[in-house]
Amino acid sequence: MYRKIIIGILLCLSGSVMAHEWTPTYPKMKYSFIDGIMVTTMDLFNKREDISWYEIGVYDKDFNLIKHSVQGGKVQYVPPLQRKSVDVYIRSKDMDKATYICSKSKIISESEKATVVASRICSKIK
């Protein structure tokens, strides 16, 4: 009983400012306005106050990088507590290989904070 209460308190205290969210879990690709290019929209919510930059990548099932393009660049500036929607473009001919769309937090090496955790969330293309 007490254990559950303590866990609840910990969740309330610590969960709000150090997390990273990436949705949807199973994105669906659709045709873009460019011939031969598919697109999907992903949402990134940065609740990590120590991170402001995220890299977006598309990978095959073995996590080899697939050629792709991201609206606004592959490295995105997302200030803490901000949400950002980005369009991810993949060539139609790569669609049979493309499996994951991932966002990874980027740590600035000169940062004074002792951050040692880089987070990466990967959604699976359906």
């Binding site: 997390a19 949807p24 879990t25 990466r120 699976k124």
Partner: protein, 166 residues
């Protein structure tokens, strides 16, 4: 007869009202796996050739929390570091060791994550089959050369915590 007519008219009135009622439905899609840095780790320097996050070595273990909103949708990959992201110039090899361990769970059944974990190289994989929150602690130890002293300066290394959709 009068009762039947009353019921029919009440039913008609209700359906008519339902037809004109405008019921908005709104919703947000929330992430089904959330990675949270509960404790950023700190390297302790118990002897000149060793940096360690172990509390017995004066360090602080980094703790990462996974909030699993949808069971059986994600796998967690946690990778302990094998290089520094920030350090002074090092002329000799650094030997890295590490470990990832389930520290705390919100649902008792999640303790099975630890028994079913899979390890390769410096990565540990957990199958997140139960919804809830799980805390993982990461040990990281760096030994420099053959009993060589680490040069003075700031050292930082990154643990990678991943949520991979299944």
């Amino acid at each position: 007869m009068f009762k039947k007519a009353l019921l029919t008219s009440a039913f008609v009135a209700c359906t008519a009202q339902a037809q004109v009622a405008d019921v908005p439905i709104t919703g947000n899609v929330a992430s089904k796996c959330v990675i949270t840095t509960d404790t950023p780790g700190v390297f302790g320097n118990p002897v000149s050739n060793k940096l360690s996050t172990l509390p017995t070595d004066g360090g602080v273990l980094p703790i990462v929390r996974y909030d699993i909103i949808e069971a059986d949708s994600y796998k967690a990959h946690i990778t302990w570091p094998q290089s520094f992201t920030t350090s002074p110039v090092l002329n000799d090899v650094v030997n890295w060791t590490g470990d990832v361990e389930l520290a705390e769970v919100s649902v008792a059944e999640m303790a099975d994550f630890e028994t079913n974990k899979v390890q390769w190289n410096n990565t540990t994989e957990y199958d997140l089959t139960i919804a809830g929150s799980a805390w993982f602690k990461i040990t990281s130890v760096a030994d420099y050369g053959f009993d060589k002293s680490f040069p003075g300066g700031q050292y930082r290394a990154a643990v990678i915590a991943e949520c991979i959709a299944k």
